[in-house]
Amino acid sequence: MFKKSEPESVRTEPTNRLVERQSAKPKETATVGPSIQIRGDLAGDEDLVVQGRVEGTITLKQNLVTIGQEGQVNATVNARVVVVEGQVEGDLNGEEQVVLKNSANVRGNIAAPRITVEDGAHFKGSIDMESNGPRDSEGGATTNKVTEIKSPAAPGDVTSKNPAGKSSEQQLFKS
């Protein structure tokens, strides 16, 4: 009886440790290297860095997608957070945030609750500032969310109230 129960407790302990290790483990990140070209739909459950070329769609709604400085993307990008350092032609939909770094060159439409545009970024397209978020129970007004606007040249640029959200007019710009 005693001997039988001992192994059980021994087995249980390393399992718990494994769970702890897994939860502490950094998120997996996939990389599309500079020499890689992909045509089609990319989907998955890990963060993605694109330094190569992608045409199609990228859908990683729970993850971070970074278009690196060497990245050239001609695709609609759907992700939790989208960070652009390279070139994108297509719409960027961020569940949480879209960030255009100062090296970014984007032509398309942006929809996200928080949008960060660094001075120096090139952008042609639309940004929808209308919230589809929770509504004020009394007046029915949209609830503003926060947009961060950063400028490396002018660090004083700051955070403001922003009713940004998902767009119902995503094709207003030719993309």
Binding site: H122, S126, L172
Partner: protein
């Protein structure tokens, strides 16, 4: 048309960076305070401070960043056929022709545009305007202007922050209000105010 000398430079320094109050921008802010969703076209470079400013009102902001894609291009050659400026404008603009705007911000870009460029641009944009669409531009009266458009941002309601990003060295066309109206069929001048540092703001209305 109301013309007033405002001359309210709040701060200035030798680096070509200064802030001043723009009465035309104050009028625009009054329009933006109306509780509805606005459709705004920014012809200039997307500066974070301006996106922040526009984000305070419900709107769809369209950014065209026309300097590199249109204004800085060399003049068209004969082989480009008739109406080369109009074709270039069509190529440069990213928004669809069906889009309608309430407000258009031209900042100081017109100082850097040939009159044919302005005419072609505004002819194209007039199709995207409603009756009452407002156009905000800033024209320099100085004979020489910086080589490139300045970084002009809205610091606060009606308060404009102007920062040169290049040294003076370009001859200024110094368009007059009458010349501007001729270049922009359908637009009429509502207000013009003299500002600091040889700048003048203009507010046009369509229709």
């Amino acid at each position: 048309m109301a013309i007033a000398s405002v001359q309210q430079a709040v701060t200035a320094n030798a680096l070509g960076k200064f802030d001043f109050r723009s009465p035309s921008l104050e009028i625009i802010c009054g329009h933006l305070a109306e509780p509805r969703k606005h459709s705004i076209l920014d012809l200039g470079t997307p500066f974070g401070a301006n996106i922040e400013f526009f984000s305070q009102v419900p709107c769809t902001l369209f950014v065209e960043d026309l300097y590199e894609s249109l204004i800085a291009l060399p003049p068209p050659e004969d082989c480009e056929g008739p109406n080369p400026y109009e074709r270039r404008v069509t190529q440069a603009l990213a928004h669809s022709a069906e889009t309608r705007f309430d407000l258009i911000f031209g900042w100081d870009l017109f100082n850097y545009m040939h009159c044919d460029q302005i005419h072609a641009l505004m002819k194209r944009l007039s199709g995207s305007c409603r009756s009452g669409t407002l156009l905000f531009i800033m024209i320099s009266t100085a004979p020489v202007i910086p080589e490139r458009p300045a970084k002009i941002t809205v610091a606060h309601e009606g308060l404009v922050s102007y920062e040169s990003t290049s040294a003076p060295g370009k001859s200024n066309p110094r368009y007059t209000p009458l010349a501007l109206e001729r270049m922009m069929p359908g637009f009429r001048l509502l207000h013009s105010f003299l500002l600091a540092e040889s700048m003048q703001d203009y507010l046009f209305s369509f229709g």
